[in-house]
């Protein structure tokens, strides 16, 4: 086994405990999670319409968060990322840093492994420092925390704050007790979009039928 130069020797928390610590603070935000354990554990604490679970496309939770942050500047967006996912989209850190969206909190749960495919170690296990990478990409604030208390403090500050922030939480490499989620992805997508747009006062899609003869285009919900 490769000797770890990074992370969890200095201690690590359980991810479910970290999520539980910030769960109340997520009530008035829009949350985007990665797949697998993060989604299942957040769900196990209680699903809400403002939670979006990106169940497949690895790396894109942060890009979805950027899109939300840019189009809903008055809403706080919280991305719940993972080390494997973040490493797949390091370029996205540089894209986000071009905008420095003040309403985006980027939380990365770093268990130094790809748990859902058997626990193979990621590059953070040999020293890749995601907080350092985020800072170097241009994030004005990026910290690594190892205890639930520190995580609660930093995450709450990021969620309540007005500056783009990244928090890397070193967590134990363990799967959730259950992957059970009774939310179909389409149900999740439409519910979340409705919740996000309601918060922003934006209309739902598709637009309601227009009066015949306006703008030469009649849209109807019947086929």
């Amino acid at each position: 086994m490769t000797e770890s130069r990074g992370g969890t020797e200095g201690g690590a928390m359980r991810r479910i405990d970290a999520l539980e610590a910030i769960y109340p603070a997520l009530r008035d935000t829009l949350v985007v999670t990665i797949m697998g354990g993060v989604a299942a554990e957040l769900y196990s604490l209680g699903h809400r319409p403002n939670f979006f679970y990106n169940e497949h496309a690895m790396g894109l939770a942060s890009s979805i968060g950027l899109g939300l942050a840019l189009c809903l500047p008055d809403e706080k967006i919280v991305v719940l990322d993972g080390d494997g996912s973040c490493l797949m989209n390091l370029g996205g850190l540089t894209t986000t840093s071009r905008y420095l969206p003040p309403n985006l909190a980027h939380i990365i749960f770093d268990n130094e492994s790809l748990m859902s495919v058997g626990g193979f170690p990621t590059a953070t296990s040999t020293g890749a420092d995601l907080a350092g990478i985020a800072r170097a990409a241009g994030y004005p604030s990026a910290v690594t925390v190892r205890t639930v208390d520190d995580f609660r403090d930093e995450a709450t500050r990021a969620i309540d704050g007005t500056q783009l922030a990244c928090i890397v939480a070193k967590v134990e490499a363990r799967n959730p007790t259950s992957f059970y989620m009774d939310v179909h992805i389409l149900e999740n997508r439409f519910e979340f979009a409705r919740a996000a747009r309601a918060r922003a006062g934006r209309p739902v899609e598709p637009a309601p039928p227009q009066q015949v003869g306006t703008a030469g285009e009649t849209q109807t919900t019947r086929g």
């Binding site: 829009l30 985007v32 979006f52 990106n54 497949h56 496309a57 790396g59 894109l60 939770a61 942060s62 890009s63 979805i64 968060g65 950027l66 899109g67 939300l68 942050a69 840019l70 189009c71 809903l72 809403e75 989209n89 370029g91 996205g92 540089t94 894209t95 071009r98 905008y99 992805i185 389409l186 997508r189 979340f192 979009a193 996000a196 747009r197 922003a200 934006r202 209309p203 899609e205 598709p206 285009e217 849209q219």
Partner: protein
Amino acid sequence: MRGDPALGPWWEVAYERLKAHDVRLIAHVPDAVLSPLIRRLEEDPFFVVVPLTREEEGVGVVAGGYLGGLRGALLMQSSGLGNSVNALGGLSLPYQIPFLLVISPRGRLAEFNPSQVPMGRAVPKVLDALGIETVTLERRDELAEQIDQAARTCFSTSFPVALIVSTLLSGGKRG
């Protein structure tokens, strides 16, 4: 370039039709053929223009924007489709997130770089394999109507639609 020059450049029409359909969020990796359209969009504060590092990110950005209530378009060279396939298959399609996928084709007509050919030739088959409705924009006189109909299908049915900007319309990239 095909069509009546008096009708104006293709990218001016594309700009107008995107605006007419309230497509405000524009994510892109720059491309030479698409550059006049990108610059035109950047000039108008109506649009939120997001330059990407890699095309795949754009699938996420336009998804987030759409969930938040902004219609989007993702602009890229055909090579970028190769960088985006799993994101389209794992996010846009199963979650039914609509956006206009505007592709500048390389490796087909008017090509000078042989390394563009294999991916460029694969583009229609890749889009077809994913089940993405694809429209080739080739004639200047049909351009506005094609974009209008594509946008209606896209945002009414909640699936992405691809628009390929033919070199017969744009003139292609001069090596």
